[in-house]
Amino acid sequence: MTFRVRFWGTRGSIPVALTAFDIRDKLARALVEASGRTFDTYEEAHAYASTELDFSITHTFGGHTPCVELDLGGPEYYVCDLGSGARPFGVHVLANQSRRPAVVNVFMSHVHWDHIMGFPFFGPAYVPGTTIRVHGCHDVIEQAFRLQQSAPCFPVDFDQLAAKIEFVKLEPDRPNVVGGLTVTPHLQLHSGDSYGFRFEKDGKSVVYSTDSEHKLENRAESESFAAFFRDADMVIFDAMYALAEAISVKADWGHSSNIVGVELCQMARAKHLVLFHHEPANDDATLEGLLKEARRFEELTRGEQALKVSAAYDGLELEP
């Protein structure tokens, strides 16, 4: 049985990229850390970098906006949102298909720009024979897809795409069978509404819950999300801000924090929290700090069951 989660885009709001300054900074920090050591081969240096240096020195969380693939190992593709990460995801699909047309099942949390902007650059949409089924709970999904490809914003109109594109309406809080998955959407607090999705297959469950603000004073809301996350093997969670930011200057912006992610997953007895939808203003060191803080908070507040805490980055693959 294959059930693999592949993160193609993990950043919120707008794509970002490392700058020349950022690369030099990482190199300088690595050299300082390695001061006094000698490496006779590339492999020795690589092993040192892989095991002894901080993630934020040797890696980057990446800058593509949300696009998360659920790889079930079958002939069809399943993906949440089509942010700018949909471009490399499309390259992956084309390479994997070797000219055979693909069937791609998309689940749209909502249609804010950072969640649809990759679609005009999604290669399979231009391949005849490809089928793209876009699932979601909003009435405006097709309208949004067409709008962003309308002149004068983009040179290729939606109607010029070669793929067969269908829009499938899902009902919230009802299990839907889509290919090899059971999918249950759940309404979330976000401007214009967003929906989380709980995916279940062969006893494994993954929740994709991004662009979702949680009102801490509302116990019924917390319990509703704890039920949605209940016993999940993995919860991909909007942890855009630190808690102090999320409930002060950025209250009502429609996003949440690493701390609330830990609390809700603990309430739900979920097994693995994956921090997601990273703030574009945060550099790699800041994001690594937020991950460490979430892990420490989990340790401090742990009940009977430990919660694994990770931070998503572009290119990360996880099994629930």
Binding site: L216, A244, I247, V260, E293, A294, R296
Partner: protein, 127 residues
């Protein structure tokens, strides 16, 4: 969680104890706001004595944030002191230490509020 308050010159020390979470945050917030508004009306500061606070959740932290904003809007101040190690760490993890002035002791928080408040506290301690 009943809130006890002690006055030292123009500062009000509010004792917070037990666990502060979603179960009791509404009542706590209502009580705290009374003290914050009274203090702001008197032109003074509120010092939260957290020496008895064993745990605070995100819902509890939100109460502190709302009180902070209320005080600021009324040109008042809230300072916190005497945090237990776990609560101090939660303040850091949640970045609340970047919002609040945090002091190791209530005496130091009062000294930051005003010299009169610290003197009054010292006098009460001797007595």
């Amino acid at each position: 969680m009943a809130l006890q308050a002690r006055r030292f010159a123009n500062a009000l020390v509010v004792d917070v104890s037990g666990r502060l979470d979603q179960d009791n945050c509404d009542a706590f917030r209502a009580d705290l706001m009374v003290h914050v508004e009274q203090s702001a009306h008197d032109g003074g500061s509120v010092v939260l004595d957290l020496s008895g606070l064993e745990y605070v959740s995100s819902a509890g932290l939100r109460c502190f944030m709302l009180a902070y904003r209320q005080a600021k809007a009324q040109h008042g101040r809230i300072l916190v002191g005497a945090l237990q190690p776990m609560v101090a760490e939660i303040f850091e993890i949640s970045h609340f230490n970047l919002v609040f002035q945090v002091f190791p002791t209530v005496r130091e928080a009062l000294a930051a509020a005003s010299s009169d408040a610290a003197a009054s506290y010292d006098k009460a301690a001797v007595a």
